[in-house]
């Protein structure tokens, strides 16, 4: 087991290197560089930058250096000093910027995931059992509508409803009164009051896919002879379904659960932007748009590492829950 994990981790190193390289490349793909965006941003505010200064800064930051040199600098910094570089935009170390946003990102991600799964899995099972009956159609329709509603639209409309009917201060995860307050019950309550919109938007959007897959997987299993065997044992129908076909239909989900790890980091970008959540998503988006390459690169690298870990985790989990995999029979 340990050897296997070790082997997989070794395998991941070239993947990660390749990802870091490509990520770094992609970030620089759009024309211009951080300073051009900076100039443009200043101009949008009515200021203008002196081209001579910009040129000097460009040299100062080494933005004009060849791709390889920049990449090399970045990578050696990470590898040897754990230094992710400095964000151009914030003029702060990238590591600190990411660390700052991590807790909320995790809270939002985990909450979303839990809600999604808690809604979707039972709904999918029920939908499969009631195949082509009214509950199936109702669940499907709701799921599809949730899936089809563009996230940003849902977020905006919910935010507006929150404002119009509940007088809620939209945006961010805390009301102004609690932002700076130390943690307390009231603050947690305030967080929950703000968390519901993004969680609902994100979770609902995710349910349809899971409902569909669960339903399909389960339908494939429901007619298998081993289900009849279970019935013949005299088990109640619920137990039959839960213990046998559902158990097997869940496997594909187990094998993807690790993948949702990286999604925590860039899945909610658009909603997070609309609702001004202080998570890593908007940070990444802003960094990409302003070509703040060390910041963007840092986040992408973390996401990539998480992906690799997620895959590994999935594989291990799958092996744990599915003996066929464990014993190499599937």
């Amino acid at each position: 087991m340990l050897r296997y994990v070790g082997f997989r981790l070794l395998n991941a190193i070239p993947t990660l290197l390749a990802i870091s390289l490509v990520a770094f490349f992609i970030i620089q793909l759009p024309p211009g560089d951080f300073l051009t965006t900076r100039v443009q941003a200043l101009e949008a505010q009515g200021e203008s930058a002196d081209p001579a200064l910009v040129e000097a800064l460009r040299q100062r930051y080494g933005i004009d250096d060849p791709f390889w040199i920049q990449y090399g600098k970045w990578l050696t910094g990470i590898l040897f000093y754990g230094d992710f570089g400095l964000s151009f935009q914030y003029q702060r170390p990238v590591g600190a910027l990411i660390a700052e946003r991590l807790p909320l990102t995790l809270i939002l991600g985990v909450a979303t995931m839990l809600v999604t799964w808690l809604i979707a899995l039972p709904a999918g099972v029920y939908s499969a059992i009631k195949q082509r009956k009214t509950p199936d159609y109702v669940i499907s329709t709701i799921g599809f509508i949730a899936l089809a509603t563009p996230n940003f639209m849902a977020a905006l409309v919910l935010a507006f409803i929150g404002f119009q009917f509940f007088g809620q201060s939209v945006g961010g995860l805390f009301s102004p009164a609690y932002v700076d307050a130390p943690w307390s019950l009231a603050k947690i309550g305030d967080l929950l009051a703000h968390l519901w919109i993004p969680v609902v938007v994100l979770a609902l959007a995710g349910t349809a896919g899971i409902i569909r897959t669960m339903r399909a997987n389960l339908l494939d299993e429901l007619n298998k002879p081993y289900v009849t065997t279970a019935r013949v044992k005299g088990l109640p129908e619920r137990t039959v379904i839960r213990r046998y076909p559902v158990r097997i239909a869940l496997n594909p989900f187990v094998s993807t659960v690790g993948w949702s790890l990286p999604q925590l980091f860039d899945g909610e970008v658009i909603v997070a932007v609309v609702l001004s959540l202080g998570t890593t998503g908007p940070l990444l988006l802003a960094a990409l748009k302003s070509q703040d390459m060390y910041l963007a690169g840092g986040i992408i690298l973390i996401v990539a590492v998480l992906t690799v870990i997620g895959t590994l985790l999935s594989d291990i989990l799958l092996a744990v829950v599915d003996p066929r995999v464990r014993f190499g029979k599937a």
Partner: protein, 616 residues
């Protein structure tokens, strides 16, 4: 709310002179007494409405975490500052201020006993440190900014005659220096807390030590660390002279910055109460939609910057219920315009664009009224870009050239320059008149895509084909800098362009209408496109303005530039927003009601001298 029971500060008129939160600190022994904090002669500010009471938090919002505009608006401080009508400089940190008759020597005498927010004395050394060790350090500032450069990009001579007197001497007259000194984003840069920053500067501290500290903090080099330490928006430790100091920076996960009052602030009201009245400012970073909803919800007590004109309707709808008013300030920098590339890389197009009749024809061909009716319900202000009438450089009746919709005239003009129609498109020297307008998409004010598409329709009617092409920010900047575009769609500023002349005079490759000439000017003719005589004339007039010895000369030169624009329509204007909404909570006292400009150059909301506003 005026009739309410006066708060303690007002009641026992001269007894409560400082904010209760400071009184508490004094009691705790953390702070010296008020008399020891104020300078010998504090600057007295006359409240706009009436003296306020202490306390409260002002809530604001912005869309970018890195935008430090709130510092310039609410916590700026300089040797001098704008007078209340923004017409001239008045001494601020300086008790007295003189400039020589020829605009070369500027002398400041500081108030006695000024203190930084950490209680350390503020002296002439802090100014000299900022100039010599920051501006004068090639690592920190690789190229001198326009607002502080003498001829040949040299640093002016700086000296102190005594602890409280600073003298800045330019070799050539610098007519705009005073204006720059008043600029709330610039004036704070000329004073720096030497006692705090010298720890991070190799001229004062061992370079190895400075570098090591920088590395430890996660920076590659000392200058980055210095810049970080020097940033009043992100570093709560940096001493300031302004009314507020950042207590928590906005980078944190909540995206919220909080500012707290500077206990050593040097201004008082006429009764001797130490300003500001309001204790705290909280700034939340929000997306535009959320910010608009916040404003509509009455959560933002006083805000103009970042508010969308298009959402005015929503603010107005909720204003009464949520207890705020929507003021209509003058909109600045919203005049949507099309800049033909006068220095086009293509010779034929360059000569065509430089032809006045062509520009006039294009201008006449636009049905501005229709665009205005469609997009702004007819409320927009139609004019060509240039200084407005009442402003120093404005000329009477300016901005009206060729704004009337006259397709026939446009056709005649085009025929006149030899751009004849073949089929539906005109040809000029064998080339079809087909152009691309680049612009960055931005729906904040006038929806650019919609406006340009309407123009496209109008121009098509006179045989000029235009492709409307929204481009990414970076690409936009790059295309412009490399002089590689036909038309640039942008919003123009009108007044105060002397502070950023590129809008009207091609002084650098950042020019919107002729970057090629701008580069030529900036490089002294080494690079770029050699401008024709009329553009050279524009540049000469600009030089005249910049080095004017007196204001008369400066203003005369400015008017000349305006006149030249008015005659030639170098940039084709469409229209600008009728106003800029500013939400003001009913609880706020002391906000100007005379519809001032919401302008970057006057510190935006800072034009109302926010240290004297208070929460009832």
């Amino acid at each position: 709310s005026d009739r309410r029971e006066p708060l303690p500060g007002l009641d026992s008129t001269k007894k409560v002179l400082e904010s209760p939160i400071l009184t508490k600190k004094i009691t705790a022994g953390d702070l010296p007494k008020l008399a020891d904090r104020l300078p010998a002669s504090p600057m007295v500010v006359q409240p706009i409405k009436k003296p306020g009471s202490f306390g409260g938090t002002l809530h604001r919002a912005q869309t970018e975490a890195t935008d430090s505009g709130v510092i310039a608006s609410f916590a700026s401080s300089g040797l001098v500052e704008w007078s209340r009508d923004s017409s001239k400089a008045i001494p601020s940190l300086a008790e007295t201020y003189q400039r020589s008759d020829d605009n070369t020597i500027f002398t400041f005498t500081l108030r006695q006993g000024l203190k930084w927010s950490d209680g350390k004395p503020f002296t002439a050394d802090d100014v000299i440190f900022a100039i010599k060790d920051w501006l004068g350090n090639a690592t920190l500032v690789p190229a001198l900014p326009v607002w502080f450069a003498d001829v040949d990009q040299q640093l002016p001579k700086v000296s102190k005659t005594d602890e409280n007197t600073v003298r800045i001497e330019f070799r050539e007259p610098f007519a705009l220096f005073e204006k720059y000194l008043c600029h709330p984003s610039i004036n704070i840069q000329i004073i720096k807390p030497k006692h705090y920053l010298e720890k991070y500067h190799p001229a004062y501290t061992d370079k190895a030590k400075v570098t090591a500290a920088a590395k430890k903090a996660g920076f590659d080099s000392w200058d980055q660390y210095f810049a970080d330490r020097d940033n009043p928006w992100t570093n709560p430790d940096r001493p300031v002279m302004g009314a507020y100091q950042v207590a928590k920076a906005a980078g944190a996960q909540s995206g919220t910055a909080s500012l707290e009052r500077n206990p050593f602030y040097y201004k008082t009201d006429p009764d001797g109460r130490q300003l500001p009245y309001i204790d705290k400012i909280q700034v939340q970073v929000l997306d535009q939609a959320a910010l608009d909803l916040r404003a509509a919800n009455g959560d933002l007590e006083f805000q103009g910057n970042f508010l969308g004109y298009n959402s005015t309707q929503v603010y107005l709808r909720n204003a009464k219920a949520k207890g705020f008013t929507v003021q209509r300030w003058q909109a600045v920098g919203t005049l949507l315009s099309l800049c033909p590339n006068l220095s086009h890389n293509d010779r034929v197009w360059r000569s065509l664009f430089m032809t006045k009749d062509f520009r006039l024809a294009l201008s006449h061909a636009i049905n501005r009224k229709e665009i205005n009716d469609t997009l702004l319900g007819g409320l927009g202000i139609i004019r060509q870009p240039m200084s407005t009438d009442g402003s120093p450089y404005g000329i009477a009746g300016g901005g009206r050239t060729a704004v009337d919709y006259d397709v026939e005239k446009a056709g005649q003009l085009l025929d006149g320059i030899g751009a004849k129609k073949r089929g539906s498109v005109r040809y000029y020297r064998g080339k079809p008149l087909e152009f691309t307008v680049i612009y960055t998409d931005n729906d904040q004010g006038i929806a650019r895509a919609d406006a340009f598409n309407l123009v496209k329709k109008d121009w098509a009617a006179v045989g000029v084909k235009m492709n409307v092409r929204p481009v990414d920010d970076t690409l936009y900047a790059q295309l412009r800098a490399s002089n590689d575009f036909d038309f640039d769609g942008t919003t123009m500023i009108e007044d105060d362009w002397d502070l950023e002349p590129v809008w009207y005079v091609p002084t650098s490759s950042g020019s919107h209408s002729c970057p090629g000439y701008g580069l030529w000017y900036a490089t002294g003719g080494k690079d770029g496109v050699t401008p024709p005589a009329e553009i050279k004339k524009l540049m000469d007039t600009w030089d005249e303005l910049r080095t004017a010895q007196t204001d008369q000369i400066r203003i005369a030169a400015g008017k000349k530039i305006t006149q030249q624009h008015n005659d030639n329509v170098y940039v084709i204007g469409l229209m600008k927003l009728p106003f800029q909404p500013v939400v003001v909570s009913n609880k706020i006292i002391g906000v100007r009601t005379d519809k001032p400009q919401l302008s970057f150059y006057y510190g935006r909301e800072g034009i109302t001298k926010p240290e004297q506003i208070s929460l009832a």
